[in-house]
């Protein structure tokens, strides 16, 4: 399979000369199996360029896409109205995301292009669009690609996805806080908890179980793509924003025996040279600890081939 990064940024797109190398588009990763099954994880602004590439391909703009959504915060869905296959008759788009009690998935997406926010209402797109709502630990197949899910620790709750195909595996773990200090559900947290504040034993147990599930999801993975938006200082300051540090990602990868880690969902303020330094620092930790994990900083256009191509 081939993994391609189309958007690697968190929060909002950040154009400019300081983000030229890693890229300023928000989250979007494409996974294509050797048999040609195309699974896309998240629809940040990076998906616009994927759409352009598809429209220049032999299919004449038509596409058959399976879109897995980690969660519906803007930076993970805001590119979809600009995904050109939506406007090609004959295209098929299957959208998957976690089932919620309060809102239907379709309504969340349709509202994005309602009046007064966007010029083309969802019902006027030309593709055949279907929605599938998933439970926390769903497992299913998309043609030759096996998909497994785990719940993440993020405001309003996010989902991690593991894709197995061609004798290889990739896991997408974004967005998530570490599995400590705060149990995120639907609540708004105005202020960070005081450092060292104890969680209730019940919440603590749920976080331990959640992390175990994520470690199991990453077990033996060839590549783990992980939300590493935070520096250690960010985590001290704003742990209630719900993101991880490279050290959190490394610990999960190590516990899971994963082979490679892509640092992902870079903070909007992070310049190219700062990301270079974070990647180098994380590699140094791996070397000292003799972890045997290949660390890369995800950048727009990065292609990773895993297993059979």
């Amino acid at each position: 399979m081939r993994v391609r990064f189309w958007g690697v940024r968190g929060s909002l797109p950040v154009p400019g000369s300081k983000t030229e190398r890693y890229g300023g588009n928000t989250s979007c990763v494409e996974v294509r199996s050797a048999a040609g099954t195309r699974v896309v994880v998240d629809a940040g602004t990076g998906i616009r360029k994927l759409g352009k590439e598809l429209s220049q391909s032999d299919s004449g703009g038509r596409a058959d896409i399976h879109l897995l959504i980690s969660h519906t915060h803007w930076d993970h869905i805001q590119g979809l109205p600009f995904f050109s296959p939506l406007y090609h008759p004959g295209s098929r788009l299957s959208v998957y995301a976690r089932k919620r009690d309060d809102l239907h998935l379709r309504a969340v997406f349709a509202s994005q292009t309602d009046v007064p926010y966007f010029a083309v209402p969802f019902d006027e797109t030309k593709a055949a669009i279907t929605f599938r709502e998933l439970h926390d630990h769903a497992e299913f197949a998309i043609a030759d690609v096996k998909v497994s899910c785990a719940r993440l620790n993020h405001p309003y709750i996010a989902t991690a996805y593991r894709l197995d195909a061609d004798g290889a595996s990739v896991v997408y773990v974004s967005d998530t806080a570490p599995f400590a200090d705060i149990l995120f559900e639907d609540q708004f947290i105005a202020n960070p908890p005081s450092p060292g504040a104890q969680l209730s034993p019940a919440d603590q147990a749920r976080l331990v179980a959640m992390r175990d599930r994520v470690v199991r999801l990453c077990e033996g993975a060839d590549l783990v793509i992980y939300d590493t938006m935070f520096t250690p200082e960010d985590y001290q300051r704003i742990p209630h924003y719900g993101h991880s540090r490279p050290s959190d990602a490394l610990a999960v990868c190590h516990d899971a025996g994963a082979r490679a880690l892509a640092l992902f969902h870079h903070a909007p303020e992070r310049s190219d040279s700062e990301i270079d330094a974070i990647v180098a620092g994380t590699r140094a930790v791996v070397e000292r600890a003799r972890f045997g994990i290949d660390v890369m900083g995800a950048y727009e256009g990065l292609d990773v081939v895993l297993g059979r191509e």
Partner: protein, 285 residues
């Protein structure tokens, strides 16, 4: 008055090496009045950098006030709002003006962007600053940060987008983004709003060829922008809201074409600028 451009792009932010000179952020312009007060025109992603730049002043310590004028609520004009950091400083006061049948309706539109399924802050009320929201009445002057403001809706696809004329001490700036005039040309009210402005910031999304390819998008070409600038006898025309696929070279070409069209159509005296992220423009100097 002084204008600063923070986002000059239309539709969707366009990061990448091809857009670094003019910039890839969506629509946001700040206007510093002669009396040193702040008006923000639209809140595309450019608003993030504007917000950061303001944190050294009174807005950084909760002692600031500013007004925000919203042309309409398409994403590229509001998506920077949740990332405009002075809104998170308690003590700051923001007055927001925009379209809507009622102020409550406009507030609902802005709340729609903050809702928990889309953004972790969940509601405007969690942002911290005092936020007052008012729907404007077209063609009826109102006062914003000591300036006289008039709003007038331009046709924009199936919707409309407000153009704003802002006057202070005999100077006038007009912001007219997202204008898709019908074949017969702009409405008389729009031309009246632009009349004799010192600066007209005008939608110039497309080349005339691309405008013909996308007739229903409700956006202007360089030809449309030049025509209204000449007809309303403005002093400076600022090209704005470039298509997301236009590279810096494409915008250079758009600018050159604009200059040629102005010279050919009786607008040789009109100064032409291509809005550029980070650039400032003094009004009437």
């Amino acid at each position: 008055m002084e204008l600063t451009f923070w986002g000059v792009r239309g539709s969707i932010p366009a990061p990448g090496p091809g857009t670094t000179r003019y910039g890839g952020n969506t629509a946001c312009v700040s206007l510093r009045t002669a009396a040193d007060r702040l008006i923000v025109l639209d809140c595309g992603t450019g608003a993030r950098n504007l917000g950061i730049s303001l944190m050294n002043g009174p807005l950084g310590s909760g002692q600031g006030a500013a007004s925000i004028l919203l042309s309409h609520a398409h994403w590229d004009h509001i998506q920077g709002f949740p990332f405009f950091v002075p809104l998170y400083v308690p003590g700051n006061v923001f007055n927001i003006f925009g379209g809507g049948k009622s102020s409550a309706m406009l507030e609902g539109i802005l709340e729609g962007q903050m809702a928990p399924q889309y953004f972790p802050v969940q509601t405007l009320k969690n942002m911290g600053a005092t936020i007052e929201i008012a729907a404007v009445v077209e063609n009826q002057p109102f006062s914003v940060e000591g300036c006289r403001v008039v709003a007038c809706a331009n046709p924009h696809g199936r919707a409309g987008a407000l153009a704003f004329r802002i006057e202070e001490a005999g100077r006038a700036v007009v912001y007219a983004s997202d204008a898709g005039y019908p074949a017969g040309g702009p409405p008389a009210a729009s031309l009246a709003l632009y009349r004799d402005a010192d600066v007209l910031i005008h939608d110039s999304t497309y080349t005339p060829e691309d405008r013909r390819r996308y007739p229903d998008r409700g956006l202007s070409s360089i030809e449309d922008a030049v025509a209204v600038a000449v007809r309303s006898a403005v002093k400076t025309l600022v090209l704005f809201h470039y298509d997301q696929d236009y590279s810096d070279g494409d915008v250079d070409a758009l600018f050159a074409r604009g200059r040629r069209l102005l010279d050919e159509q009786g607008g040789a005296a009109i100064q032409l600028c291509a809005a550029t992220e980070g650039a400032t423009l003094a009004v009437g100097s």
